[in-house]
């Protein structure tokens, strides 16, 4: 069998249970070199446990972790070619910025000149030049975040792990740091894996998204795939906004309780249809509904309406005369393109 180019990180049947509680059900996952991968899920879905198993802080109940083809399952975090940016940063308060960043190299007893050079390089990368001698408690949250990043990057890890890296920052700073992270990722060409509960952050940063729920991987794909073709109702609801309409499939034709019919191959039985809010447009005929709420979002208007079957649908329109007509109480019809609908089997939760 020809040897396939092996991924940088491979998880095989990795799982973790705490007593009777299953935090992570056995899963397989591969992350290619150069990927910026997001592990996305609600709190308590096992995403942090998964990250800690990759870093070596949590011992898996079963399965293996392979980095660059090497089995590192038995190694502690100090022996793995990974470095982590922690949610609370975990900076050393008794050391200056430069001493924090140099910590890992100092442990390895690198020549002082090399260490100094790499510290300067790392601080430049995170745009903290001139902060060398500052003490940690004099820094803002965003600056502390950058020190934590520099401290991990200076080790030149094969994989950089980030645990909710931006959760503690306010919105403006978060957007700024997202840009910075993308730039750094592009600059050093490394492999980043980060955990987040924020779908916007996952999409803004990652080229690969792993959606987790209740200890399982629900879907693995590009942000576009996850958004446009969610693999399950959970993904459809958790990632972005979606209208979910119940229906019944018979002979390759789905009839929605709300009215419209959609051609869809598959076994007969109950199904759900998912439509993203920007794919619905007011039209002369289609999905009939009564508007119950309208929110002005600035660049767009968000409309909530109830179908004749009593199901809630979400519509997003650019602000304009079309949107202005959709006041609460008005009866309208919404049209959608056939490819805007994603039919999900009832079995796919």
């Amino acid at each position: 069998m020809p040897a396939l180019p092996s991924p940088l990180l491979r998880l095989e049947g990795l799982s973790k249970s705490f007593g009777p509680t299953v935090a992570v059900a056995p899963l397989d996952l591969a992350v290619e070199a150069g990927d910026f991968c997001a592990i996305l899920g609600p709190s308590g879905c096992g995403k942090s446990t998964l990250l800690r198993m990759i870093a070596g802080f949590t011992e898996p109940s079963s399965g293996r972790v392979l980095i660059d083809g090497q089995d590192v399952t038995a190694l502690g975090p100090e022996q793995r070619p990974t470095n982590m940016v922690f949610q609370g940063y975990g900076l050393f308060p008794h050391l200056t910025v430069a001493q924090n960043v140099a910590f890992g190299l100092a442990l390895r007893k690198r020549p002082p000149a090399e260490t100094a050079g790499r510290v300067a390089e790392a601080l430049k990368l995170v745009r903290l030049e001139g902060f060398d001698d500052r003490s940690i408690d004099k820094l803002s949250g965003g600056q502390q975040q950058r020190v934590a990043l520099a401290r991990a990057l200076i080790m030149r890890p094969k994989i950089l792990l980030l645990d909710e890296p931006l959760a503690a920052l306010d919105l403006k700073l978060r957007q700024q740091m997202q840009e910075e992270l993308r730039r750094i990722h592009a600059d050093i060409g490394g492999t980043f894996i980060f955990v987040t509960h924020d779908q916007g952050e996952a999409f803004a940063l990652a080229n690969r998204v792993v959606v987790m729920n209740a200890g399982r991987v629900e879907q693995l794909g590009t942000p576009q795939e996850v958004y446009r073709t969610p693999a399950s109702l959970f993904v459809a609801n958790f990632v972005g906004e979606a209208s979910i309409l119940k229906g019944e499939r018979r002979n390759g034709m789905v009839t929605l309780a709300a009215g419209p019919e959609i051609a869809s191959a598959g076994p007969d039985g109950p199904v759900s249809a998912m439509i993203r809010p920007e794919r619905l447009q007011p039209a002369a005929q289609g999905l009939a509904a009564t508007v119950v709420d309208q929110q002005f979002l600035g660049e767009a208007v968000r409309v909530t309406a109830l179908t004749s079957s009593g199901e809630r649908i979400h519509v997003r329109l650019p602000d304009g005369p079309d949107a202005a007509r959709l006041v609460p109480g008005s009866k309208v019809a919404f049209a959608f393109a056939p490819d805007a609908v994603r039919i999900l089997e009832e079995s796919a939760r």
Binding site: A55, E78, F92, H94, L95, Q99, F103
Partner: protein, 280 residues
């Protein structure tokens, strides 16, 4: 300083001045007075200080030695206990601290007498040693020695070392320890480069408490020290009471105080040097 702060500090300040600062200064002045046939007379004499430096210098050194040994032992043992309570006992850590505090209620003399009955010639330890056949006759050096004094002082003063160390260990974040491991730190490096440097203040308080209380003690050496384990405090008491030589007692007290400050300064300096950040 704000007016409110002055108002709030003044009652405590007044008490401090009246019962400590002023008497201390007066006592210091007395060390330059002279005493003739049990009568104090104001004077500018260095006789008392001369007596301290010629007759008591060796005893002062031994006293400091007992104090330093006690301080170091208390700090090391206190750190081990506090470390276990903080990082190994989980949520029982605070309970262990409560237990530590409770031992302070045991009283000081009770502990000394307990050690007397353990270390004495017909004490528990000697009986056990003879019963197991390890020795034929009681070991006399167990009690009435410098080591007996140190053992009893460490036992009594350990809580004073544990509490400040535990308090500062609680401020060491678990994440910073994980971060250090992630960056490649071994268990030893975790201790010497992350934990100890962060709790310097706690370590110093622990040493200062136990060292000062030990160096100033005169009851423990009186009951457990015999002749080889005597300390300066006993002689200060003697000068003030039996000999009614207040100048001598005062000079010895202040001499010891000064020596203690030197020891504390040196200890603080050595600790800072040992725990300073390695090359950045």
């Amino acid at each position: 300083m704000k007016r409110g702060a002055v108002a709030l500090l003044s009652p405590a300040g007044a008490v401090f001045a009246a019962v400590f600062a002023i008497p201390a200064v007066m006592l210091f002045v007395v060390s330059f007075w002279s005493v003739r046939s049990f009568k104090l007379s104001p004077d500018v004499s260095l006789a008392a200080w001369q007596r301290f430096f010629t007759e008591y210098w060796d005893l002062t050194l031994y006293t400091l030695l007992i104090g330093i040994s006690t301080g170091v032992l208390c700090t090391v043992l206190g750190f081990i206990f506090a470390y276990a309570a903080r990082f190994r006992a989980g949520r029982h850590g605070d309970l262990l601290m409560l237990a530590t505090l409770v031992t302070l209620f045991g009283g000081y003399l009770v502990k000394i007498y307990a050690w007397k009955s353990i270390l004495g010639a017909d004490g528990l330890l000697n009986q056990a040693l003879m019963l197991t056949g390890l020795t034929d006759a009681p070991l006399a050096f167990l009690i009435y020695s410098r080591s007996a004094v140190i053992i009893a002082l460490v036992h009594f003063l350990l809580p004073f070392a544990i509490l400040p160390i535990y308090a500062s260990l609680r401020n060491v974040s678990d994440i910073s320890l994980e971060a250090a491991r992630d960056l490649g730190a071994s268990t030893t490096q975790l201790l010497t480069r992350v934990i100890l440097p962060q709790i310097q203040a706690g370590l110093f308080s622990a040493f200062a408490f136990s060292f000062l209380l030990a160096a100033g003690d005169y009851v423990t050496p009186m009951l457990l020290g015999g002749t080889s384990g005597s300390m300066l405090g006993q002689f200060v008491l003697l000068e003030f009471s039996t000999r009614f030589n207040w100048p001598a007692g005062s000079a010895m007290s202040f001499g010891l105080l000064l020596a203690c400050f030197v020891v504390l300064g040196a200890a603080g300096y050595l600790m800072r040097m040992a725990l300073r950040p390695r090359p950045a």
